[in-house]
Amino acid sequence: MGGSDFYFYSLFVDIKFTFIKYETISITVHISKEMMKKTISNLPLQVKGVNFSYGKKNVLRNITFSVPHASICGLLGPNGSGKTTLLGCISGIKKLESGSIFLHGKAVQMMTRKEIAREVSVVPQQTGFIFPFKVLDMVLMGKAPVKEIWETPSLADREEALGVLERLGIRELSGRTFQQISGGEKQMVLIARSLLQNTDIMLLDEPTSHLDMKNQILILDLIKKVSYENRITVLMTLHDPNLALHYCDQIILLKNGQIMSQGNTSEVMQSQKLSNVYGIEVELGITSKGTRVVVPSCWR
């Protein structure tokens, strides 16, 4: 396995480097080294024993999971269960309290921002802006990680960005300013940026919120297609269990910062487990035309 060798080598180099520069943290590195022996693999995303707190408030507790290559993993859980925080940890924005996260076998903590951004693209839950950038400029920013620090987007990049907008059916928005489009349109633009970033791993925080039914399907179909064709691994939070049911290969159920259940979609999406996590009665049904749906029991 050439790939694995390469990673091993690069890790080795990293560790030597670490020994020289940061002697005090050599113990931590030792442990990781032990673990790496086993974990060095092609698994795109591995999360091991992650804990995280805001101040004294413990938000993630001993989170351990991994996402297989080119699969779509849904992260479900009630509000405030720690989904956004977990995505923040994976993309290296939040500093872990303990545990470690590996992207293709490389520890996030040891990667530069740019290395991370070449591996992982993020669609955030919320954004706020000062300057009224044009939509096209916003999307083009997805090219930043693959550019040298002094480069600017090329004409080819512009074409590519317009192509992505085209695929999402919002090419006509390209010249508008980001402040002057509707909520759903903003969401589409952020997804377009993430697609342009063209990473092996995509993290999406409620990508379908603010989207209409058609766009929800368009986006999720596209993600599924991209994931399959380009071998991209997707981890996304969702609130609609129906979407999870129809688009995810894997599901992780989070509650109070702990994983309640994880596995293949069919295993996890069971009424008992969902009811447990959300605290309401949920049932899986099937319509007369054969579509599987998840509905709260109270709607009966």
């Binding site: 923040g88 924005i93 951004a117 070449r118 009224p132 400029d137 930043a144 990680p145 002094w150 480069e151």
Partner: protein, 317 residues
């Protein structure tokens, strides 16, 4: 061109003659000796300096407003002017009137002030740009107070006027030496900022989003601040504090070409350079004495900004 106009009248044919003398290495005819001095040693370095300073101040202002995501920020928000003023005052009192000492001390203290502000900002628990700006306010206050103190202890007849003179900005005393010493710094700083111009778009999105787009926010912030501070400090240490341009030029540029830093950076620099040259040309031409540059910037710049503001088609803010 601006170098043709001035109190000492230099008709175009004289300038032509002077330039051709220079190019062909001919000796200047003796009746053109004075015009030659005015042209080569007074007017040219001055015009070049005005262009340069206008460009770098507008550039630094644009960069700072992007980095701090606040349209009210000007390049001296982190204390570079106050630091430079203090440094100059210290040099005047301790070392005497050596221009070199004064300029170097101004430069060094200008940088030191920004470093101090950055260190304070960094040490605060919430590592936001607002905190950094407040740190700048603190440092500015301390160095300003320091300068007042220096004025207080200065010899009122010798050192005090020197200090006061120093703090007033202007181009009237620019000689080639000043151009030579600032030019490398200007070029270096401007080049850095120009090459990093696109990342400024990313940085202005906000820290978290910039991070996920692969921007090492802290490192980039330090880079932008350092490069801008370098050029501003070097501008201040030769031409004193020239206010307003750094705050207002970015807005004018943004009102014209929009917020995309890819274009804004270059446009703001050019606009700043042209603006400053016009201002300086007017300042030395209009009246019999020199009109302080600060009056001119306001008198010309304020109506222009008002025009742009009232004219704007769609909201740029």
């Amino acid at each position: 061109m601006s170098i043709g106009v001035g109190l000492y009248s230099l008709p175009m044919e004289v300038i032509f003659e002077l330039v051709s003398c220079k190019l062909t290495n001919r000796a200047v005819p003796s009746e053109l000796f004075s015009p030659s001095v005015v042209f080569w040693s007074v007017r040219l370095p001055r015009a070049i300096m005005a262009l340069l300073v206008g460009a770098v101040l507008a550039l630094a202002g644009t960069v700072f407003q992007g980095v701090f995501r606040n349209p009210l920020v000007s390049p001296d928000i982190l204390g570079v002017s106050a630091g430079a003023g203090f440094g100059a005052g210290l040099a005047i009192i301790l070392v005497g009137r050596s221009a070199l000492a004064v300029q170097s001390m101004a430069f060094i203290f200008g940088l030191a002030a920004v470093v101090a502000a950055y260190q304070i900002g960094r040490r605060s628990r919430s590592d936001s740009v607002t905190v950094l700006v407040l740190a700048g306010v603190i440092v500015t206050a301390i160095f300003t107070a320091g300068l007042s103190f220096l004025k207080y202890v200065a010899d009122p007849y010798e050192q005090l006027p020197a200090i006061v003179f120093w703090t007033m900005g202007g181009f009237s005393d620019i000689v080639w030496k000043d151009v030579y010493w600032t030019l490398p710094v200007f070029i270096a700083g401007t080049a850095v900022l120009f090459f990093l111009r696109w990342r400024l778009d990313l940085l202005s999105l906000g820290d978290e989003e910039a991070l996920t787009l692969g921007v090492d926010v802290k490192k980039m912030r330090v880079l932008y601040i350092s490069a801008s501070t370098l050029i501003v400090a070097s501008s201040i240490s030769t031409c004193g504090t020239i206010g307003w341009v750094g705050l207002v030029m970015p807005h004018m540029a943004r009102l014209i070409v929009g917020p995309n830093h890819q274009f804004l950076i270059s446009f703001a620099s050019v606009l700043g350079a042209i603006f400053m040259l016009i201002i300086d040309t007017l300042a030395r031409t209009i009246s019999s004495g020199e009109i302080p540059i600060s009056i001119m910037t306001s008198v010309i710049g304020a109506p222009f900004l008002a025009y742009l503001l009232l004219r704007q088609e769609e909201s740029n803010f």
